[in-house]
Amino acid sequence: MKSTSYSEKVLDHFRNPRNVGEIEDADGVGKVGNPVCGDLMWIYIKVGKNDKGEEIIDDIKFKTFGCGSAVSTSSMVTEMAKGMTLDKAYEITRKDVAEELDGLPPIKMHCSNLAADALKAAIDNYRTGAEPEVEITTSCQLDTQLILGVEKFVGKGVYKEIPTNLEDLKDKRILILDAGDESLEFALKLTEVTNRVILLTSAKSIPGSVELRMKLKQSEVKILQQSDLLEIIGQLDEVEKVLIHDNDEDENYELTVDAVILLDYRG
């Protein structure tokens, strides 16, 4: 079955998604998925009480990045849960959502059918009274001793200090590790010679001073948050790839780069 062989109901929810948006003073927020995999869903709930005094979902909204079925399942789960008691809503499964949509292509059953999980996460978030996620803006200190391959590639694509000649990095794909404001400023400077600058930070949000954060947001610098550099990989004495750990998903993946800049190296 082709990934786009969707039921009419899926297509309807994709074309006219219900309950799109955010709730500013939400009682619970659920965030699931990972942009690396291509699906990310955020669900916001507002909790009220019905005549019997049971807690119900008074209002629910969503935002989704992903394929057609990711959008449709999010829309459907909000429609199903609206007005339901929390207990009932908590029992909604992925299968229920798929059935309400007259089925999903088999390949989409797992990857893009996260809406029920997002709803559960939102209810959990409300019940545990956990603070809505707070932005962490400080960078975690870099521990270069844990990065494999640094010594092997120094002078062959790995820079431990700011290179004197920027032209050496022209048109290169560069990974720069967040090591405080100096590294952030240099990341911005690099965009003058290449359009592939990736900033890696273990922080949950964009690091740096308010001014630098604004500049970074508007720049071409790509920022990978909640991530650690594990290894620098290459053949023929040249950096080719880096192995990155996504702390949020607890997953490793590779990224193709030409140069790695580690300013705070103390290995």
Binding site: L11, V36, G38, K63, T64, G66
Partner: protein
């Protein structure tokens, strides 16, 4: 109005080609192997067709053309056939990281069979790194296979230089020319290429037929064994109807290729500037100049490609994406990742490929609907920064 901008995936068969093919379904249907008069007619048309395809690439001898069932088979013949033939000389083959999936998978297959396969990396524009290619060559290397252009992002590869390197080192050089054959002429007497893969459909001929150009003196093992057709290199009764169509398509293509490429380039440039100017946070993937004249490959921040294609479908506009969500394996495009794009960037990619029947009104329509579609999806996406949305006109 329906707009088709996915010529890289499939092309319509030219009306003139269809007309040329018709008599060979039921009138002149005989097998060229037969000794009777009907068979002679088939032998004659087969030889004329071979000449036309040879002329298309200026091959000195029509016998250098072997007909196959298409590009995938030609690639299998070239890689597996030469690997087997040269096994005693060496067991090392070089391909690139951005080859068509058929070459990549043949590479994996050869590795399973005990061969060593190296993959040349590419730069951020998707162009192979020549210096690394040179360093990868060993005295065990028997074949280099690099396509003329990326079938995804359209980056043109330095074929002339690769041919030179291979020639100097006495290594066979194969190129898959499918992505470029309708827009960039190939002259095998100017560039020393040993093996070239062609597809009929990619020059507006019928599907299910293709060719492998095999330079005089180059030896490979056959991989299709049987009745010994195509000089024993590719057994199986000749697909005369398809071959006649392929030959007609090649003949037409040769006469219009330069003119067609330059008008497609104008349309493509209009599409690229139209999209980049009207959609904020949109980017062109691949090289700005060194790209196929009919290829426009974009990426849009904060959104995912399959939902983009679905939305465009509702507007009757057809394109393609490198997003994992649209593939069978749920893996993002290997080409975009090899260029150093992040997974989420690869997800937001969109390929528009133009062809012979693309009209300016098609381009206008695509430029017209795309901004609205992108904006709607960005409004749905949690990745879109609120301050960006606020100023999003």
């Amino acid at each position: 109005m329906s707009v088709y901008l996915d010529y890289q995936a499939a092309k319509p068969v030219d009306e003139r080609v269809v007309k040329e093919m018709l008599p060979y379904f039921n009138k002149d249907f005989a097998n060229p192997a037969s000794l009777h008069g009907h068979g002679d007619v088939a032998t004659e048309i087969l030889s004329q067709s071979r000449k036309k395809v040879a002329d298309f690439i200026n091959a000195p001898d029509a016998e250098d053309i072997l007909f196959t069932s298409g590009a995938t088979e030609s690639n299998n013949m070239a890689l597996i056939g030469s690997a087997l033939k040269n096994k005693r000389k060496g067991d090392h083959i070089i391909i690139s990281e951005i080859e068509h999936i058929s070459i990549l998978n043949i590479g994996k297959y050869l590795e399973q069979q005990g061969f060593a396969v190296s993959r040349v990396p590419v730069d951020q524009y998707g162009i192979i790194k020549l210096d690394i290619l040179k360093k990868l060559i060993t005295d065990k290397t028997t074949l280099i296979s690099i396509s003329t252009a990326s079938n995804e992002v359209g980056s043109l590869q330095p074929i002339k230089e690769i041919a030179q390197i291979a020639n100097e080192k006495k290594i066979l050089f194969h190129t898959d020319a499918v992505a470029s054959e309708a827009v960039i002429p190939i002259d095998v007497q100017k560039i020393p290429i040993d093996l070239i893969t062609f597809s009929s459909n990619d020059i507006y001929g019928p599907r299910g037929v293709g060719a492998l150009y095999l330079k005089k003196g180059v030896r490979i093992n056959p991989i299709m064994i049987g009745g010994g057709q195509e000089k024993g290199m590719r057994s199986g009764s000749e697909n005369i109807t398809g071959i006649v169509g392929f030959a007609k398509a090649a003949e037409i293509m040769k006469s219009v290729i330069n003119e067609e490429a330059s008008s497609l380039k104008k349309l493509r440039d209009k599409l690229i500037s139209g999209v980049l100017e009207t959609i904020p946070k949109s980017h062109l993937n691949g090289h700005p100049e060194k790209r196929l004249p009919n290829n426009a490959h974009f990426r849009f921040d904060y959104i995912e490609g399959e939902s983009l294609i679905l939305s465009l479908r509702d507007e009757n506009v057809s394109g393609a994406t490198g997003s994992a969500c649209s593939s069978k394996t749920l893996e993002a495009s290997h080409t975009l990742l090899a260029m150093g794009l992040l997974h989420e960037e690869a997800h937001g990619s969109l390929l528009f490929s133009l062809g012979r029947f693309t009209k300016e009104s098609d381009i206008d329509r695509a430029i017209g609907v795309l901004p609205g579609v992108v904006k709607r999806l960005r409004k749905l996406s949690p990745l879109t920064p609120p301050e960006f949305l606020k100023e999003y006109k």
